[in-house]
C-alpha cells in the first residue's frame, strides 16, 4: 500500500479512536460503571441515599468487548451475507449493540437498587427514563467508532483478524483505558468534591459521596457534564495514542519491505516508550515540587 494512504487511514483511525475513548468514559460516568461504582453502591449503606444511576454490568473491558463484538458480528453478517453498504451495516450493528447494552444497563440498575431496599435507597424511575437513553447514545457512539477502526484495519490495512475479533479486542482495550484513566477523574474527584482539591481521599470517607448537584440533587448526567471537561477527553487521547502509535510504527517502517525495516519499527516503538517514561518522570517531579509533601519528615531522624 502507498505509505501516504496508510498514514491517512491511520490518522482517521486515530481520530475515530479519540472519539470512541471519550464516549466510552462518559458512558461509564453517566451509569457509574467500573471502580467508582463501589462508592455509589456503598453510599446508601452509609445512610447516604442518592439519585445516581448505579449500573455495574461487569468490568468495563468485558462489557465494551461484548457490545463491540455484537456490533461487529452484525455488521459483518450484513455486509457479507446481504451485501449491504459499509456505512449502513456499521450503523445498524452499532445501534443493535447499543440497545442490547441499554437493556443490560436498565436491568443492572433496577436489580442493584432493589437489593438496597433495606438501606432505604429509592428506585427512581425518572432516572431510569432519563439516563438509559443517554447510556444507549454513548454506547452507540463508542461501538460505531470502534467498528470504523476495525473495518479500516481489516479491509484497508488488510489485518488478518476478522472484523468481529478486531472489534472485540479494541472493545477490551478501550474499556481497559477508560477504566484506568477517565474513571479516576470521576471516582477520585467528582464523587469527592466535598473535600479540598488535592487533599487526598481518606479511606474513612468511603461512601460519603457528594449528592447535591450544581442545581438540585446530583445525578449521573451531572457527572458526565463534569467529566466531559477532563476525564472524557483524556481517555480519548489515551485510546487515540494507543491506536495511532501502535499502527504508526509498522506503517512508517513496514516490516514487509525488509528485516531491517522490521527492526526499525521495533526500535521506533521502544523510543516512544522511552519518551513516555521520561514524560512520566517529568510529571512526577513537577507534581512533587509544586504540591509539596503532606507531612514533614519524621523528627526522630533529626534527634537521633
Amino acid at each position: 500500500m502507498d505509505p501516504l494512504l496508510g498514514m491517512g487511514v491511520l490518522a482517521l483511525m486515530g481520530a475515530a479512536a479519540t472519539i470512541a475513548g471519550a464516549t466510552e468514559d462518559l458512558e461509564s460516568d453517566v451509569g457509574s460503571q467500573s471502580n467508582p461504582n463501589s462508592q455509589v453502591q456503598l453510599a446508601p449503606q452509609m445512610m447516604h441515599p442518592h439519585r445516581i444511576y448505579n449500573k455495574a454490568i461487569s468490568g468495563e473491558p468485558p462489557s465494551n468487548a461484548l457490545m463491540c463484538a455484537i456490533g461487529g458480528t452484525i455488521a459483518s453478517v450484513m455486509m457479507s451475507a446481504y451485501g449491504l453498504s459499509v456505512v449502513f451495516a456499521i450503523t445498524f450493528g452499532a445501534a443493535i449493540a447499543a440497545v442490547i447494552h441499554g437493556t443490560y444497563a436498565a436491568s443492572s440498575f433496577m436489580g442493584r437498587v432493589s437489593s438496597q431496599k433495606r438501606f432505604k435507597q429509592p428506585l427512581y424511575l425518572d432516572i431510569v427514563r432519563s439516563h438509559t437513553p443517554v447510556i444507549i447514545g454513548y454506547a452507540f457512539l463508542t461501538t460505531f467508532f470502534i467498528l470504523v477502526i476495525s473495518y479500516l484495519m481489516s479491509s484497508v490495512l488488510n489485518h488478518p483478524f476478522p472484523l468481529p475479533l478486531l472489534a472485540f479486542i479494541w472493545g477490551i482495550t478501550v474499556g481497559a483505558i477508560g477504566s484506568s484513566t477517565g474513571d479516576v477523574h470521576y471516582g477520585a474527584e467528582r464523587e469527592y468534591q466535598n473535600v479540598e482539591f488535592g487533599s487526598g481521599i481518606n479511606a474513612a470517607n468511603s461512601g460519603d459521596i457528594v449528592r447535591h448537584g450544581e442545581s438540585g440533587l446530583r445525578n449521573g448526567i451531572d457527572n458526565a457534564w463534569f467529566c466531559s471537561k477532563f476525564g472524557g477527553p483524556v481517555t480519548g487521547i489515551a485510546f487515540g495514542m494507543t491506536v495511532f502509535l501502535s499502527g504508526w510504527v509498522t506503517t512508517v517502517f513496514n516490516p514487509g519491505e525488509s528485516i531491517t525495516m522490521g527492526w526499525l519499527s521495533v526500535i521506533a516503538g521502544l523510543l516512544i516508550v522511552a519518551i513516555l517514561i521520561i514524560g512520566n518522570r517529568i510529571i512526577e517531579t513537577w507534581a512533587r515540587s509544586t504540591y509539596g509533601p503532606y507531612q514533614e519528615e519524621e523528627s526522630e531522624e533529626v534527634t537521633a
Binding site: E60, L157, L165, G175, I177, V273, I283
Partner: protein, 239 residues
C-alpha cells in the same frame, strides 16, 4: 477420525511454545501496577482498574500488532518484538494519561506505599501519601514495572498466536488467523486471571512483596496452558 497422536507429535514444538507463551503472560501480570477500586479513589497507588482488565488490554493490543506484522513477515523475532512493543505502547500511553488525571485532575502527587524510597529514583515516598491512604498515582518504579509487564504480556500473547498460526492444518489463512486469534485471546485471559489470585486486587509492581509469590501462578499457568495448548493444537490441526 482425528489422528490425535499424529497431530500432537507433528506439532509438539508448538505445544511447548504455547505453554511458554501462556506462562510468560502469567508472569507478566505480576509487574502491572494495579490498585483496583481503591486506586480509582486515589486511596492506593497504581492504575485504578483490575489486574486482568489492564493486562488483557495491553496484551491484546500487542496481539493486534503481532497479527499485523505476521501478515507482512515470517521472522519470528520481529513478530514477537512487535507484539511486545505494541503492548508497551498501550500500557505506556494509558499510564501516562492516568498519571495526568491523578496529578492535574485530582491534585495528588505520585507516592508509593510499599517501600519508603522508590527503588529506581530513590525518592522518598511516605511523606507524599495523603492521610488515610496507602499512596496514589504512579511513581517511576511502578511505571517502569508496568512497561515491563506490558512488554512480557505482549511477547507471550504473540508467541501463542505465532505458534497457533503455524500448526500444520488444511484451512485457508483468513480462517486460520481468526481461529488462532480467538484461541490466543482465550489463552491470554486464562493466564491473566490466574495471577490475580496472587495479587488480590492491588500491587505496585516488581518491588511489591506480593511479587515474590510469582512462582505459584507460573506453576499453575504451566499446567493450565499445557492443557489449553493440546486442545488448541488439536482443534486447529484437525481441521
Amino acid at each position: 477420525m482425528i489422528d490425535i497422536v499424529g497431530i500432537l507429535s507433528a506439532n509438539l514444538l508448538y505445544v511447548l511454545l504455547i505453554t511458554i507463551g501462556g506462562t510468560l503472560v502469567s508472569f507478566s501480570v505480576h509487574f502491572v501496577p494495579v490498585g483496583g477500586a481503591p486506586a480509582a479513589m486515589a486511596q492506593a497507588p497504581g492504575i485504578g482498574t483490575g489486574t486482568v482488565q489492564l493486562a488483557a488490554g495491553a496484551g491484546l493490543t500487542g496481539l493486534i500488532t503481532a497479527g499485523t506484522v505476521l501478515g507482512l513477515t515470517n521472522s519470528i523475532a520481529i513478530v514477537l518484538a512487535s507484539g511486545a512493543v505494541g503492548a508497551m505502547l498501550m500500557i505506556g500511553s494509558t499510564m501516562i494519561i492516568g498519571q495526568m488525571v491523578y496529578v492535574f485532575g485530582v491534585g495528588v502527587p505520585p507516592a508509593g506505599g510499599k517501600s519508603k524510597y522508590d527503588p529506581i529514583t530513590k525518592d522518598q515516598q511516605d511523606i507524599y501519601s495523603s492521610q488515610g491512604t496507602e499512596g496514589h498515582a504512579l511513581p517511576t518504579a511502578s511505571y517502569i514495572s508496568g512497561i515491563i509487564g506490558g512488554g512480557l504480556g505482549g511477547l507471550g500473547g504473540s508467541l501463542v498466536y505465532y505458534s497457533l498460526v503455524n500448526v500444520t492444518n488444511n484451512i485457508g489463512m483468513t480462517d486460520l488467523a481468526g481461529l488462532a486469534g480467538i484461541f490466543a485471546v482465550g489463552i491470554f485471559f486464562i493466564n491473566a486471571v490466574i495471577p490475580s489470585y496472587n495479587i488480590g486486587g492491588t500491587t505496585e509492581g516488581f518491588h511489591d512483596p506480593k511479587f515474590k509469590k510469582w512462582y505459584r501462578a507460573v506453576i499453575s499457568s504451566i499446567i493450565a496452558t499445557f492443557m489449553c495448548a493440546i486442545i488448541g493444537v488439536l482443534a486447529i490441526g484437525g481441521l
